[in-house]
């Protein structure tokens, strides 16, 4: 393992991003959510952060508006009347492959459907979610978007562990030369494991890393993230076995240079 530069704590990253956007790079965000209270509160919080927000009560209304112009980021509920979040995402993806989309959902089991469909949601939060967590994710996604538009803009911060390379600023992972499409949460969990190869991370530690602003996450959530992480690596490399389960303790990134 060698480090080219020191990794930064996510809070610090978020703060940097906030400064960047506070300097006038304000994005437009669409919130599509049928629960009026949640919609209003999220819209309020996003506006407070300086974003331009449009709110829609269902997928059909949002799609009508999106056909005129796409926002820079979408916060999307799954179960909605008239047109659900999955259908809306499918339509968004037909227009733009990179538009960041965060799901907020009240059903854990739907998440597997979302990711199983390979529609490419960038992140998701389960209800009841922490507003600070959602704000942090929005910032990360905006930063990723900005860095993708300007490659080599800043000094790169790469973490290399064996054949795994993590871009700590763009929140992207590369395994044996191929990019692994990870959600922000998955990336943060993977980063926590890869920083100390061979060392066991407990579920609590991974929760702290994966959800730095949320204290109410069940440890089962970590298990399903790990499951999906493995699946995503296995798609690229059928022999992938770097993420070990240490029964009763947690998980670790298996050491070894092979």
């Amino acid at each position: 393992m060698r480090r080219r530069s020191l990794g930064t704590a996510p809070l610090f990253v978020a703060r940097c991003a906030r400064l960047r956007y506070a300097r006038g790079v304000s994005g437009t965000i669409a919130i599509v959510e049928d629960e009026q209270n949640i919609r209003d509160t999220v819209a309020f919080a996003l506006r407070r952060e300086g974003y331009q927000v449009t709110a829609f009560a269902d997928g059909a209304a949002a799609w009508e508006a999106f056909q005129r112009s796409l926002p820079d980021l979408v916060v999307l509920d799954i179960i909605m009347p008239r047109m659900d979040g999955l259908e809306l995402l499918r339509r968004i993806r037909s227009q733009s492959a990179t538009l960041p989309v965060i799901f907020v959902t009240s059903r854990d089991e739907e998440i597997d459907r979302v990711l199983g469909l390979e529609l490419g949601a960038d992140d998701y939060l389960c209800k009841p979610f922490s507003m600070r967590e959602l704000m942090a994710r929005v910032k990360v996604l905006f930063r990723r978007l900005a860095l993708a538009a300007h490659p080599g803009d800043d000094a790169e911060q790469l973490l290399e562990v064996g054949r795994l390379t993590l871009d700590l600023r763009r929140y992207t992972a590369i395994w044996v030369g191929s990019p692994v499409p990870l959600t922000v949460t998955e990336f943060m969990i993977l980063r926590a494991l890869a920083r100390r190869p061979g060392h066991v991370k407990t579920r609590e530690q991974l929760m702290d890393e994966g959800y730095p602003h949320d204290t109410f996450v069940s440890d089962r959530t970590i298990d399903s993230h790990i499951k999906r992480l493995r699946k995503k690596f296995l798609v690229i490399d059928a022999g992938f076995d770097r993420i070990d389960t240490v029964y009763g303790l947690g998980y670790r990134w298996a050491e070894g240079t092979a």
Partner: protein, 557 residues
Amino acid sequence: MSALSRLPVRLLAFNILLVFLPAAGILFLDTYERHLLDAQERTMAQEGRLLAAALEASGDLDATHARAILVKLGQRQLARLRLVDGTGAVLADSALLGPRRPPDEPSLSPTAALTVPPQQRLLYLIGSLPFRLLRGSGEPDDERDPLDADTGTLTGPEVRAALEGRYGAATRVLGDAARTVMLHIAIPVRLDGEVAGAVVVSQSTRRIMATLYAVRLDVFRVFLASLAVAVVLTLVVATTIARPLARLRLRAGEILDRRGRLTGGFEPSRRRDEIGDLERALAELTRRLEEHLRHTESFAADVSHEFRNPLASIRTATEMALEVEDPEERRHFLEMAQRDVARMERLLSEAREISRIDAHLDEEDRAPVALAALLGGLVESFRLRSGDSGPSFALDGGSEQVMVFGSADRFTQVFDNLLANAASFSPPGGRVTVTLRAAGGQADVVVADEGPGIPEEHRDRIFARFFSWRPAEQAAEHTGLGLAIVRAIVEGYGGRVCCRPRRPHGSEFVVTLPRLPSGASRPARGPASAETIEPDDRNPASGAPEQPVGGGTHQPE
């Protein structure tokens, strides 16, 4: 072979017994044999009497005359006829007389052993084994004939009896495979009232035994063939009954895994017999069980899902209340949180209500309820609550004497929910009409509104739990359980509820309940209700008489 355990073995035993009993009757019972022997003895006695009568008619016991008669008779006789005088000395013997006609059967000579073809002998020995064990083989008698070789006179007991003027008969066992005996009878010959001699008729039962032997062999062959058929039939039965049953048992054992979850199911059978019926019944049973479990499971998932929205709203609202500095904004978020707390309370109580109806409706007190009075009161209270801008309410059929059987609180809940639903969809100044009609054994209540109506694709789902087809602005006020509660109660009482469009616009909700015949204090469980009310799968209409009140006392809202 597992198929031959228990049931098939029992079937085999029954089948063999069925074959065995009649065969054993013929093989081992003496009826047939005795009948044949009796017939033979009668024939012999007949011959003896004929000869005796002929001699008596001639009035003389003359040896020459007797011989002449014997010669004539002997041509046609199979028996040996002998004539003795008063001392037992033989005067004439058909066996020693002139040319006999060739015998019909080669084995009829008295001394010849009963011959058995070797290929049949083993079969006969096997077949007659229990027969011989039962009787023991007859020991041959020392004397085979009443003739005393020393004196040349007949001295057997039957001859003595005849010479004393009585009918005499004796058997002597010859002893061979078929238990052949020699049958001797003696008839006295009287001249002038005095016994002057006797006619002795002797015949072997060999002929009968040969017949019996053939019959027994045939019966035994049939028995063996039937036995084979019985075994084959049993195997067929075993494969058509026992095997499918064993398979069903195996399936039943596998249907629950170690954690008590339903894993498999019975496939509906295409068999037309009782096993097919059983299989279909089991398939239906597991299907319903599975459906019920899935229903319960999805209800739990739905409840958790429905709770997360207000919970998420409360969480984000309180988070924001802590962050904002403006007291107005803070107040706004706290009020929002409070509204969602109220909504969670409503959700909780309705979810609890619906599971209580599912589980305990049958145990609640039931009594005859006059629908007209109940609907009249409800319509009046909605009218009062409605105010000027709200919809107007009307009751049609309020004079109908319609009694239904159930809990007045539950019926109130049903129509309260329907009226509230109609009111919430009514345009300002719209009209909500409640119509009560009695039709045969049932009561129809129609709640009609002038709202936007329900799209056809949602009409089936409108009564499903947590399904709601409301504008998003209204959604927070309604749990999506109101109509589900209506359906649960109505179906629990053996009724039906459906939704249909109303002309020119709006919807109608039709509640059909089994009607109580006027004067009756509880529903007849007869055809009146059975004809019109389709039995509900989950909650069979139980016209249960009053039972102790369960935990399910209803709190009207």
